[in-house]
């Protein structure tokens, strides 16, 4: 394989992994606080369409990303209000959020289907970006890619090095104990859920502004669900989740390069790979219940209603 193909392959892995990093890391924080939000797919789509609409109307990439995050947070807020405020089932509400997000994004994006966008600007750093091999590999990405690299670092630091992170983990481990000591369980869970929404929105923005810069209905194609699986795969640790996202990025691009390697398999079968890989990975991680129990936040998915 020539050097150019290798570089191109690595670049596609990065672009395929980046949205997963955002969505999965956001969900990681949400789940660490004890909330299971199955609506990642819906939040991503809402973020994607909002981001695209913003560049379409205002043509400002930064605002587009912020708008996508805000949209993700808004949908996460609906979810949070239902499960935290009204004690609705987290599983059912997460599914509702996905269904709603698919419908809402399709409605909002109906007039933008098929319009292309130039894509997010690459950050050009004089001299280093022009280096052979290393330049395109390391120094010629858009800002979101760099942000996605910093995100696990920041989240790991937050969770394991700050008091706020300790409190977040405590709330996810035992909401009753946290409440008894005097921590505002519900408020902390709201914030964690909103962060998850913002990251899912940003993941959506990356899809519609950079990965394939246009709006297509249902364009997340199950990535929200894969992100959920990645959190389990990473046993709720930021760096393992990050690693998982890149692993999946690698699998995703296999389908793109299969023909290049002369593999004569129908494209549909190659496209199945990420989904089948998700199942395989889930099975590998889940078959040891002790490992899940030791790593999963103990209160995940359980409703909290402080005794009167």
């Amino acid at each position: 394989m020539s050097l150019e193909i290798l570089v191109a392959t690595i670049l596609t892995i990065i672009t395929a992994a980046t949205p997963l990093v955002f969505a999965a890391t956001g969900e990681l924080i949400t789940e660490k606080a004890g909330v299971l939000n199955l609506g990642v797919e819906g939040m991503m789509l809402t973020g994607a369409v909002t981001g695209f609409a913003t560049v379409f109307f205002i043509d400002n990439a930064v605002l587009a990303c912020l708008a996508a995050m805000a949209a993700g947070m808004l949908t996460a807020l609906i979810f949070a209000f239902l499960v935290l405020g009204l004690q609705a089932s987290q599983v059912a509400t997460g599914l509702a959020l996905t269904i709603f997000g698919i419908g809402l994004s399709a409605l909002l994006g109906q007039n933008m289907v098929g319009i292309a966008y130039a894509g997010l600007p690459k950050l050009y750093i004089p001299f280093v970006s022009d280096l052979p091999v290393l330049g395109p590999l390391l120094f010629n990405h858009d800002a979101l890619v760099y942000l996605s690299l910093a995100l696990p670092l920041a989240v790991a630091w937050f969770l394991y090095r700050t008091r706020a992170g300790l409190i977040l983990r405590a709330v996810g481990d035992s909401h009753d104990a946290a409440h008894a000591i005097g921590y505002p369980v519900i408020a902390i869970r709201y914030m964690a859920t909103l962060f998850g929404g913002a990251m899912a929105g940003l993941a959506g923005a990356y899809l519609s502004l950079s990965y394939s810069p246009m709006w297509v209905e249902n364009m997340s194609a199950g990535r929200g669900w894969i992100a959920l699986a990645l959190v389990v795969f990473g046993t709720w640790r930021p760096w393992r989740v990050f690693l998982g996202a890149y692993l999946f990025g690698g699998i995703t691009i296999l389908q793109l390069h299969a023909q290049a390697f002369g593999i004569a398999v129908a494209s549909q079968f190659m496209s199945m790979l990420p989904y089948i890989a998700t199942i395989v990975v889930l099975v590998l991680i889940s078959r040891d219940p002790t490992r899940i129990r030791l790593n999963a936040p103990a209160c995940i998915g359980k409703p909290f209603h402080p005794a009167a």
Binding site: L166, A170, D173, S174, A177, A180, P289, T290, A308
Partner: protein, 536 residues
């Protein structure tokens, strides 16, 4: 960054020592450290606290005594700011104050050790302690302080251990050390001894007396009369949410305290029935079962027999394999070979709960809601849950709802379950009533063997007495009854023979006439019978 924190600590230390001095002065001038007046708190359907007044003097160990449901826990939650009183005043060092959150309580210098620990299993000891402090500062410094404080008070702890790997006694140490690090002027302890062996209790009391000598006030909540007489300077007695008496426990007898606590309900002490012992109905031989996961306890070579007509009691501190033993007996976790469990001469070690129930073994698990009963289902459906087979409530796979309702009504009537008929949802019943229903449901199936785990845990005194007498009646009628309980007093009252379980292993079984509280305490701590004789 760490510098700033350590200065904060020094300041905090100075401040606390000043507070301590004030506290000691306060003792001399008898301004109470904490004074409550007219505290009232109601929940839908109950008045938990009804105009309660009492005060705690500096340096005093003050008991709050009452039965389950007397309103003790509600009161301490109000003091610690978890609950808000509907009416009444709280004064701290003579000043009226509002305690609206645990944070406020801690700022005043109130620390609390909960009955059900507020610990985080997935976190380490030092993380747990840091969470309970307002200004934990640098983690490394905190670790050092934990080591120092825990050793100087005889409560050794490893700061980096994860809580899920600790014993119940060690977990309580975390709570106490967490409180001590705050150098509080008032330490509130809610039923601290229910999870300890008698020997551990004695050690705890030594620590508490030392703290009191150093000027700390302790509010000690319990329903155990002997403990209060041994430890506390003064006692406030609550009944049905009201303060009914004050007492100096050392001047009272257990009986006079009990009379104040229980009012007219006081009954004569139940005596062990003179059992006419029949055939062996349950035989457990060399039952070993690895724990289901690393949070559980392995059962190690457990062997015993229960004969028709007798009650065998198994004592033990919580978390020593009681739940595992109950599950192994009920069939929820089948054992590895058929011969380990024999019911009426039929081997059934590999059989499931259904088959064992068919053979006559009925079981009452420790946890009522969610294990012994389905919270969201009616009592009728809950009676069908375990009785569908023995009572013939199913025909050709179809539920016989009339027969089911009749059976539920019979249980409700004969066990005096207070509810709105068999349509009542299980979760709407009080703990005592639901327990009466579950025990009643199992006993009404005419079982040859009954296994009951924690029959009266968290149950009001009236229901507890009723349940105990039903168990005695059942044994007298020829069934074999096995009672697994944390409440040693209860077992001493109702058992014919008794044993202790510790770390998944069962002690020798002894006749009740040979059993003493001290001896049982040692056995609950894992000592063999010979050891207990040697120590005695």
């Amino acid at each position: 960054m760490s510098n700033r924190h350590s200065t904060d600590h020094q300041e905090q230390d100075r401040q606390t020592s000043v507070e301590e001095e004030r506290a000691i002065n306060g003792h001399a001038t008898t301004t109470p450290l904490l004074a409550l007046s007219g505290i009232t708190k109601s929940f839908p359907g109950t008045l938990a606290n009804d105009h309660v007044d009492f005060d705690v003097a500096p340096g005093e160990i003050h008991a709050l005594l009452g039965e389950n449901g007397a309103g003790k826990s509600t009161l301490v939650k109000i003091i610690y700011g978890i609950l808000k009183a509907d009416a009444g005043q709280i004064a701290w060092k003579g000043e009226p104050v509002v305690i609206d959150s645990p944070n406020t309580a801690r700022r005043f210098g109130i620390a609390m050790v909960f009955q059900h620990f507020s610990l985080f299993d997935a976190l380490t000891v030092v993380e747990n302690i840091a969470l309970g402090m307002d200004e934990p500062g640098d983690m490394a410094a905190l670790e050092a302080r934990i080591e120092q404080v825990s050793h100087s008070y005889g409560l050794p702890l490893h700061p980096r251990r994860h809580v899920h790997s600790l014993s119940v006694g060690e977990r309580q140490r975390i709570e106490i050390v967490r409180c001590l690090l705050q150098e509080p002027s008032l330490l509130v302890m809610d039923e601290p001894t229910s999870v300890l062996t008698p020997q551990e209790v004695e050690k705890l009391f030594e620590t508490l007396r030392r703290l009191s000598d150093e000027g700390m006030s302790i509010l000690y909540i319990s329903h155990k009369l002997d403990e209060i007489r041994a430890l506390c300077h003064r006692a406030t007695i609550l009944r049905l949410g009201r303060r009914v008496a004050d007492a100096v426990p050392s001047e009272e007898t257990s009986r006079s305290l009990a009379a104040m606590m229980m009012g007219e309900e006081l009954q004569g002490e139940a005596r062990p029935p003179t059992a006419t012992v029949g055939e062996v109905r349950l035989r457990v031989s060399h039952l070993s079962l690895p724990a289901a996961d690393e949070f559980g306890v392995d059962l190690k070579d457990v062997s015993f027999e229960v004969r028709g007509g007798e009650i065998l009691g198994i004592a033990g501190v919580a978390g020593n394999g009681q739940n595992e033993l109950t599950d192994a007996l009920s069939g929820e976790r089948p054992s590895v070979s058929p011969g380990t469990i024999v019911i009426d001469e039929t081997e059934c070690g590999l059989k499931g709960p259904d088959a064992r129930r068919a053979l006559g073994l009925c079981c009452v698990p420790e946890q009522r809601l969610g294990h012994g009963a389905v919270p969201d289902m009616s009592l009728a459906e809950n009676s069908y849950l375990t009785a569908h087979h023995r009572m013939g409530l199913t025909r050709h796979g179809i539920m016989r709802s009339d027969a089911r309702d009749t059976f539920a009504d019979r249980v409700i009537d004969s066990f005096r379950v207070k509810c709105n008929g068999h349509q009542s949802q299980a979760s709407s019943l009080s703990g005592g009533n639901l327990q009466k229903f579950i025990v009643g449901r199992e006993i009404s199936q005419d079982p040859g063997v009954v296994v009951v785990s924690q029959p009266t845990w968290g149950v009001d005194a009236g229901s507890a007495a009723a349940i105990q007498s039903e168990l005695i009646k059942l044994a007298e009628a020829g069934s074999a009854v096995l009672v697994i309980s944390q409440d040693l007093d209860e077992l001493m009252q109702i058992s014919n023979r008794i044993a202790a379980i510790c770390a998944g292993a069962l002690s020798e079984v002894i006749g009740i006439e040979q059993a003493t509280v001290e001896g049982m305490g040692l056995m609950m701590g894992g000592a063999s019978l010979e050891d207990t004789h040697a120590e005695a």
